[in-house]
Symmetry: C2
Amino acid sequence: MKQSELFTKTIKENPKDEKSINAQLLIRAGFIDKLGAGIYSYLPLGLMVIENIKKIVREEMNKIGGQEILMPSLHPKENWEITGRWGVEEMYKIKDENLGLGWTHEEIITPLVKKYATAFPKYIYQIQTKFRNEPRAKSGILRCREFLMKDLYSFHTSEDDLNDYYEKVKEAYFKIYDRCGLKEKTFLTVASGGEFSSSISHEFQTITESGEDDIYTCKNCGCSFNKEIFDSKCDCGSTEFEEKKSIEVGNIFKLGEKYSKPFNMDNIVMGCYGIGITRVMGAIVEVFNDDVGIIWPKEVAPFNVHLLGLDTDANEIYNDLQKNGIKVLYDDRNKSAGEKLNDCDLIGIPIRIILSKKTLEKNCVEIKRRNEDKLELVEIKKLIEFIKNEL
Amino acid sequence: MKQSELFTKTIKENPKDEKSINAQLLIRAGFIDKLGAGIYSYLPLGLMVIENIKKIVREEMNKIGGQEILMPSLHPKENWEITGRWGVEEMYKIKDENLGLGWTHEEIITPLVKKYATAFPKYIYQIQTKFRNEPRAKSGILRCREFLMKDLYSFHTSEDDLNDYYEKVKEAYFKIYDRCGLKEKTFLTVASGGEFSSSISHEFQTITESGEDDIYTCKNCGCSFNKEIFDSKCDCGSTEFEEKKSIEVGNIFKLGEKYSKPFNMDNIVMGCYGIGITRVMGAIVEVFNDDVGIIWPKEVAPFNVHLLGLDTDANEIYNDLQKNGIKVLYDDRNKSAGEKLNDCDLIGIPIRIILSKKTLEKNCVEIKRRNEDKLELVEIKKLIEFIKNEL
């Protein structure tokens, strides 16, 4: 894609109404636009990141037997009265209608699976917009009133089967965070069942200074607990903990019969497993940034490489990269070298390729990885091979 | 995919609360489930069809320079007050909030493009859930309160440029209907600008007996007009028309400055171009069905082939088809031949492959295309080649 044609624009100053790093950087770099508190539009660059995260999540869900469906956002009052949750604050209601907006889907999936499942277990998921009445919408895309979520629901005929599958989902989640670049910073954390369950649940918490959550990690055994459940003494006997700020990037619950029972689904135990797609995107930005911009991990980056023609055009290299299936953003704009370099750092594509008169004299381009300082000259005729090795 | 594992179920009787053919067949065949009036869940088979249609629409939009974004469904009152459309009946309002649910996106895209576009023309689209307060929700997925739509908006510095692009979109739309199998039955129809515009617009109307719209086609020159604009005399001078029932599967409008002006976007003229993704799915079913079920056109079908093991298992053939990249639904269920054959007709995948003891004796499978009566024996060793030629 030529940058002169891309629908986006970088902004020099931080937006005044945004305090979070993710919103500041994503807005300044032209990935998202704020429409209202906790409500954002995703521009082409932002949507590309979302689609990459969705692809990762889909692949890992499908590997553990997940089947994808799409449930509605408009939810009839009747379904929510059955579980007594029609009145919860999280749920937006439609004026003059007996309809609410889905902030979770237990009340929809349970009767659906009851009606259509011909055998168990069943693992059903969707990737869909959720709506949540959120008074604390001040953390950019980490906590929105409208956001994208993957929600998986599992249905089993025994607790043992649920327990086995719960462990499989844990593994799948770690693979997802690994592919999103977040694995090193993400900890499995014991939490209460909260709104969803009376039993224990687990959260996946990504450590970052700007996180809204607190987790406590045992210095002896490494077990992590969230604030609600933290008891100052670990199961291993230790009382020494480290407190860290974190972002909840996923959660998994054993629901037992909490929802199957009200819908007369006999002897079925359930689990539910959420990942906020847009929240993961925000968490990635919170973790991977520096003074000058975002640093996208490879698999979620909107493009593989950012090609800059400085005092010369780089059309031939652009075409060659495209022909070889390399996703390239080509800065062909009539801008100063300084502006192009700044925008490149801000946008944060993993590899920068510069063609200038100087490099051209040597039949080379200059390569720089966004997460390294090192500059490298690579012969133009070897560029494709070089880049392919980087992907 | 093995049918024994697929999350779906066929139903023998037509659902009593559905009068439209599309809803009856899609529910009976296990593609969709009704949650409420005009509100449906899409089961795996249904979502596969949606994804196929989305892929076609995306490819054709990208070919005419469209850039994909994702705008929110929650719309602030302020945006809609600027155009005076906050009060329209179509729009659901959120209780106790100054928010409405997006039923179209002119009020969001216009200020967004004003803010981010660095050059014109710009062609921006999204594929997204729309919500519409719809008292007449009785035509299955043709007229829903929640539905998927592709909406493209174009921004130009001259009327000529808008006119040129408008023609390009027409061509792209015909390509989309062609790939969806609807081209022969779909007519470009002159319509009024309606809610969106004071000038003339065009609709794409697919002829089917169950359609809610009426169009009038001139017997002399073939021009079509919708009911609102029909004047009993064609531009060609003829007064002889044929009246037909039809479904509006797309519409295109020249908006001029109707929305750019209120948002102080000077000297910019706009066009908007919609296709209802789920409505196209419904229209396909209305057009392509027979007494026993749906007949999916190739490119939108959830699977390429439906493999039935009747009195023998067909695991080897199943694996072989999959290995060769052929999307196959394999009926491995412990059901009678009659049930399997009926379900196969109902679901409507383009090619049926039967392996039975009888065909196996001849080292063959029996092939039947869903839209033909002819049965054909094909040697098992030549099956992959045969199917690849069909795709």
